[in-house]
Amino acid sequence: MRGWRIALVGDALLNPPSTPGVRPIDALRLLEQSAYGVLQLPPPGEHRLLLAVIADQIAEYAHHGYAVVALGVCEEPGQGLHWRRLAPLLRHRGVALPPRHLVRCQGDAEVESARLTAFLQAYDLPPEEQRRWRG
């Protein structure tokens, strides 16, 4: 039943702030439609131990046939991805950096939803890797 695809998701995409005049995209719905499980990243700030714990989990998935992507937000500091800290943690664990997609929260929700859906649906591991791990 599992979808074999995981998205690291910036907190602002999961819990969008309410901004007058801005309709946020429904990232969770789009992730569900494309069968991606979610690994939530914390909001901007210092989260050393939590990011190390998250990196351990990403490594376990990346080493066992799961496709991993990262979804951030243009308007957030560091795009909400903690990339300066997370990237070395992943490299240290032998994990190739996941492809990233940035959502423009101030942009048109329909356009941004279509861009995100196209990104999510286009990505997966090469077929030989899928066969090796997923049976």
């Binding site: 039943m1 599992r2 979808g3 074999w4 695809r5 995981i6 999961l14 819990n15 969770l28 992730l31 569900e32 494309s34 069968a35 991606y36 499980g37 979610v38 690994l39 939530q40 914390p42 989260h47 131990l49 939590l50 190390a52 714990v53 998250i54 351990d56 989990q57 376990e60 998935y61 066992h64 799961y66």
Partner: protein
């Protein structure tokens, strides 16, 4: 003038947002457990995903297990590390006066809230017949350690329930009814207690 709405935060078991974390043969959905997420979002809860202790400890290809098999010093130390990683985020919400609830996974040896799984003689090759384990009242190991970490930090107990995913035969309708009753009771309790907020 109306006071600002109280912030509501749901601490949710990792696999409710990511079924890829489930034990072999344990995933019931391809991605996330949509009835839980819908019930929480409809009621205005922000989501705070807990780490998955079993995935980080025993990996994606682990077999199923019961409470007694995870009740080891090494696994408890691992759970304490995860609890120390996530506790500052929970503490920040509690200290800011948010209404915080915990949604675990009933029947899980790690994340059970109302019920966990038990079988004193399990071990070795996992070739037992289906449903050959007991569901007993009690917390899973991870929830025990998380609650202990919050208590060490002087934080109040967080109201908690479990989504009945690991109870043997899965009943989505019954699980939804339980969760919605819990959330609606929390809403009543919160509205009754707004004049007497807890100060941390």
């Amino acid at each position: 003038m109306e006071p600002p709405a109280q912030r509501k935060v749901a601490l949710i078991a990792h696999c409710l947002l990511n079924q890829n974390a489930k034990v072999c043969e344990g995933a019931r959905y391809p991605a996330l457990v949509s009835p839980v997420i819908a019930a929480l979002r409809e009621r205005g809860y922000e989501l705070l995903q807990l780490p998955c202790p079993e995935l980080a400890f025993a990996g994606t290809r682990r077999w199923w297990a019961v409470y007694e098999q995870y009740d080891t010093p090494a696994y408890r130390a691992h759970c304490r590390r995860l609890a120390q990683a996530i506790a500052p985020r929970i503490a920040a919400h509690l200290r800011a006066g948010a209404e915080v609830v915990l949604i675990g996974l009933d029947g899980s040896p790690s994340t059970g809230v109302r019920f966990t799984s038990s079988k004193r003689d399990w071990g070795g090759r996992p070739n037992r017949p289906q449903d050959d384990w007991d569901i007993v009242p009690g917390r899973g190991v991870w929830i025990e350690e998380l609650e202990a970490e919050l208590a060490r930090r002087g934080l109040p107990a967080v109201p908690a329930t479990g989504w009945a995913l690991d109870m043997g035969r899965y009943d989505e309708t019954g699980a939804s009814r339980d969760l919605e009753e819990f959330l609606d009771q929390r809403a009543l309790a919160a509205s009754a207690g707004r004049d007497d907020p807890v100060t941390l």
